[in-house]
Amino acid sequence: MIDPKDKDLRTSTIFKVAFQKSIPVMFGYVPLGIAFGFLFTQSGYFWLYAVLMSIIIYSGATQFLAIGLFINLAPMTEIAVTTLLLNLRHSFFGLSLIRKFSNIPHVKPYLIFALTDETYALLASMDEPEQQSRARYYFFISLLNHLYWVTGTLMGALIGRVIKADLRGMDFALTALFVVLVIEQYKKVHSLRPFLIGAIAGIMCLVFVASQYMLLVSILSGTVTLLLLRKKN
C-alpha cells in the first residue's frame, strides 16, 4: 500500500524544513564551536579531546568552563558539582517536552541526549508536526545542530591557526534567534504573565546571582513562581 517513493519524498521534505529552521543555529554553533576547539588546543590539550567533548558532552557553556577547570587543576568533585549546577536547567526543558516526546519511537533517547538550549528552543516553538513526521522532524533538527557544533569544534581544533576570518559578533545569531522565538511564543500564548515572571526573575538573577548560574536560578525560580500562581487561579 505504502509507496516507498512517496515516503522518501516526504522524508526529504521534512529534512529541508528542518534544515531551514536550523540555519540560525548553524550561524551560532559553527563559530562558537571554532572558538571552543581553538581555545582548547591553544591551552595545550590534545585536539581529539575537544572533538570528543563536543560529541558526548555537547554543551557549550560547560565545555568553555571545562577549559578553565582543567587549567586550574580543579578536583573532580568541583568539576562534577559545577557541571550539575550549570546543566540542571535541562531538566526543566524536559518537563515541557514530556508529552511531545511521549510517542516517539527509536530516536527518543537521542532527542533527550541532544537537548541543548538552542535545540529546545526550536522544538518547543515549533507548530505541532503531524504525529507520523514528528519523530523525523525532531531528529533532523537535533542531529543537524549536533553536527554544526562538532564540525565547528573540529575546524577550530584543526585549522584554527590558519583561518584568518574575523567571526567576531557572528554568535549574535543565537541572541537574534531567541528574540524571534520570544515574539513567536507571545503570538502563541497571548499572555504576558510568563514573560513578566521571566523578566523579574531574570533581572533579579542578573543582579544577585553569579553569571554562570543565572540561567539555572532564574529558570528554577520562574518555574516555581509559575506553579505557585497557578494554584491561586
Partner: protein, 106 residues
Amino acid sequence: MSNPDISIAIFLMAFIILFTRFLPFMFFRKKYPTRIFNYLENNIPPLVMLLLVMYCLRNVKWGLSPFGLPEIIGIATVVMLHLWRNNSVLSIVSGTILYMLAVRII
C-alpha cells in the same frame, strides 16, 4: 590536568549532563498529572526564551561606552523586521549582519 585525568573528567561531565537531560523523563515515565503538564508545556517555553535572551546579554556593559548600542541595534532590527515580514531567517540574518557591522564601527 594531565591527559588521562582529562578523559576521566570528560566522561564524568558527559554522564552528569546526560543525567540532567534524562531526569524528567525518568521521573514521569508512565503517568503524569496532565493538567499541570499542559500548563507547564505552555508556560515554560516563553519563560525560558526570554531568560535565554537575557542570558545572552549578561556580559553587556550598559554603563560603559558603547552602552550596549550594538546589542540594541541588533535586537531592534530583529524585532522590527520580524513584526513586519514575519520571516525568521530574514530577521536573524539581518540583525546579525548589522550587529557584526556595529561592533566593528562603534
